[in-house]
């Protein structure tokens, strides 16, 4: 056995277990969560860690998701490292608190096990839940396999505690959450080296009383010492600036992680076979892994197809997308979400990124896999084939997306 092998601890974990291991290795101090399918095993695992004494944390079994994030928010206000996890309706129920946590600039980590929203009831996977929370001021990272789930949660704390923005680590329900894969679990010692204890910027102390999140007027206002302090709009500017600038931190943290653990994440998106590709498939999460299989099928037919997998959805890596799609003449975007009346959210982002760039690609959007509808590599390949004639017609854009379904 080599030295490297001695250090590996590969176990079969499903996505929920990988997320729980990630939270545990991050030494989270307060966990508040409410059960919802498919997140439930994640929170059960964490409560087991706490009850067994393997994780020294306060586990609060709250009475709803709104409270789960309210507990995390206030725990973070007194300087504790806080963690929660949810899916679909639970995330929707948290909506108000998502804004609050980001507005208060608290480095909370939320694992979102992606699931469809009702009505009608559906417990299976799509990404409508986290995409619907796009504008709440959270960084969103999408994992494509279970190793990435574990690694991303550990990195998320380092990112959040650097830029003071909460991070949502998203992964597909069932496809990842309930599917076992080999995962290399880093040692606690190594994680401790990578992620030091949280040093909060505020701890709420009677010796230095402060009143947080008071009513704040639109315009700057002077304090008792005559110093001009930010108005509401300046505070919002700073949040936008922090998320814009977080791209640098995400890359730096991913690089450091790679140096310590041998798995580098120094990117906001990943590319596969893009070097010579004039056709690009764009997707996010586990869907992008499925697209690799589709690309292989298409390459056998002689098409030069590559993959652009989005890792960060917020901040959206506009410049990186333009760079990655430089050679593309056709971009096929698959979305497991829909902005009703418009198109898939990632497609809109890609179009927005390419506007004004030198990339003159035909962009085609397909809505797939809603409510757990199985997405087969063959179907992705079919969608690409169907889009090929557009290369000849020169129609760059169509008004609405196509749906891979029976209507």
């Amino acid at each position: 056995m080599t030295k490297q092998n001695n250090k590996t601890n590969i176990r079969l974990l499903d996505g929920n277990q990988a997320a729980a291991e990630g939270a545990k290795l991050s030494r989270v101090q307060v966990i508040a969560a409410y059960p919802i399918t498919p997140q439930t095993p994640l929170t059960e695992t964490l409560s087991e860690f706490v009850e067994k004494g393997e994780l020294n944390a306060e586990y609060v079994a709250v009475e709803g998701e709104h409270s789960a994030l309210a507990v995390c928010t206030s725990a973070s206000m007194v300087g504790a490292r806080a963690f929660t996890a949810t899916s679909a309706h639970g995330l929707a129920y948290m909506h108000e608190m998502l804004h609050w946590a980001a507005g208060a600039r608290l480095p909370i980590i939320l694992a979102c096990v992606n699931r469809a929203l009702g009505a009608p009831w559906n417990i299976l996977n799509d990404q409508q839940d986290s995409i619907s929370q796009r504008d709440t001021g959270w960084i969103q990272i999408y994992a494509r396999n279970n190793q990435e789930i574990l690694d991303s949660i550990i990195q998320a704390y380092k990112i959040a505690e650097t830029v003071y923005v909460p991070v949502m680590v998203c992964f597909d329900g069932y496809v990842l959450s309930h599917t076992e894969m080999p995962v290399d679990i880093p040692s606690q010692d190594d994680v401790d080296k990578f992620l030091p204890p949280y040093k909060p910027h505020t701890i709420l102390d009677p010796a230095n009383p402060k009143n947080y999140n008071l009513v704040t007027l639109a315009d700057p206002r002077v304090n008792a010492e005559g110093m001009l302090c930010h108005g509401y709009m300046e505070l919002r500017y700073l949040l936008q600036e922090a998320i814009q600038d977080s791209a640098e931190t995400i890359i730096k943290v991913g690089q450091e992680f790679g140096e310590l653990f041998g798995r580098s994440y120094a990117n906001l998106l990943w590319e596969d076979k893009m070097n010579d590709a004039d056709i690009a498939i764009v997707a996010m999460g586990s869907l992008a892994m499925e697209a690799i299989v589709a690309a292989d099928m298409l390459r056998e037919e002689g098409h030069k197809v590559g993959i652009l997998g989005l890792r960060a959805f917020r901040p959206f890596p506009k410049a990186d997308v333009v760079k990655a799609l430089q050679k593309s003449r056709l971009v096929v975007v698959f979305d497991k979400n829909i902005s009703y009346g418009s198109e898939g959210a990632t497609c809109s982002e890609i179009k927005s990124a390419l506007y004004g760039s030198s990339v003159k690609a035909v962009i085609r959007n397909f809505i797939v896999g809603l409510g757990g509808r199985d997405v087969k590599a063959r179907e992705l390949a079919d969608a690409v084939r169907k889009s090929l004639p557009l290369l000849e017609t020169g129609i760059l854009n169509t008004e609405y997306p196509e749906w891979v379904c029976y209507i």
Binding site: Q29, H66, S67, A80, L204
Partner: protein
């Protein structure tokens, strides 16, 4: 030591010059609550009149650490403060959640009930001005029958209020008390007592609102006293299941238990001007029946 106006600490935690309306009973109550906790407290507050009292960034009228939290989340926010303090090894601080009646009886009852069921270690104070006064006087689950509000503008409210103290008592809490801003020393002593008890402690504080209830702002104390003298607001505490009347309610019971007619209280306030004789009689019957129940439970009267 029994609290008197003379032996209260001179330290002020709720500073003068806050943004409440003239005659605000909340100001008075809050001042005594913070004194009782010696400032060794972290306060969480949802949207409410107290948010107004606390001021606008970057100036606040209190010198204790505070977090503001969304309307429905007070009980959960207090839970998070307790969990965070414990997880980071900080001891000796009281977590105080303080919310209005809308934030307690209505939108906040879920998170409060959840926290109480988990026996989270904090004091929860509901200051009750019987409506959504911060938004300009709309009916809440605590508005009394007959009261005209922004959302019961002509007929007045048709239903009796929730008995929030009884609801909280049903959670099996170690300490429940009712108080009235017009009896600040009774309130002070109850907060002092609650401070030394572990678990979820609940105090309901009656806080008359001159602007919303339509009475002269110089009459706040009088209105509060009338509420207790007529039996609409009964002052008591339940410690480990033992029920005691306190302060003015104890005195009334001691002196034969005769309450003033509720009409004496109603007539002083513009909000009750449309009440019919029938409504007044129904309210009187409701008060009498409740008072009888309290007298049956009482354990601390001299024979």
């Amino acid at each position: 030591m029994k609290a008197t106006a003379v032996n209260l600490t001179e330290v002020e935690y709720a500073l003068p010059g806050n943004r409440t309306c003239p005659g605000c009973a909340l100001s008075l109550a809050y001042r005594h609550i913070l004194k009782a906790l010696d400032g060794q407290v972290i306060v969480t507050v949802p949207a409410s009149c107290l948010t107004v009292l606390h001021g606008m960034y970057p100036i606040t009228s209190v010198n204790v650490p505070c977090v503001n939290t969304p309307f429905a989340s007070t009980g959960a926010s207090a839970t998070g403060l307790v969990a965070g303090l414990k997880a980071t090894g900080r001891k000796g601080l009281t977590v105080l959640a303080i919310a209005g009646d809308g934030g307690t009886h209505d939108i906040g009852i879920q998170s409060l009930s959840g926290a109480a069921e988990r026996q989270e270690d904090f004091i929860y104070i509901c200051y009750d001005n019987e409506g959504y006064m911060n938004t300009g006087n709309q009916r809440s689950g605590s508005t009394p029958p007959g009261a005209i509000t922004g959302t019961t503008p002509i007929l007045g409210k048709q239903h009796p209020p929730k008995d929030i103290a009884a609801i909280m008592e049903a959670h099996g809490l170690p300490y429940i008390a009712t108080a009235n801003a017009s009896y600040p020393l009774d309130l002070y002593e109850k907060v002092r007592k609650a401070k030394d008890i572990k678990g979820t402690r609940f105090i309901h504080v009656f806080t008359p609102c001159p602007a919303g209830w339509q009475f002269p702002y110089s009459d706040t104390i009088k209105i509060g006293q009338l509420a207790t003298e007529t039996g609409l607001v009964v002052l008591y505490e339940v410690e480990d299941g033992v029920f005691r009347l306190t302060s003015a309610s104890e005195s009334i019971a001691q002196k034969g238990g005769n309450l003033k007619p509720v009409r004496d209280y109603l007539i002083e306030q513009g909000r009750f001007k449309n009440m019919t004789e029938e409504q007044i009689n129904t309210l009187q019957d409701w008060v009498n029946a409740r008072w009888k129940c309290y007298l049956e439970r009482v354990t601390n009267l001299q024979p």
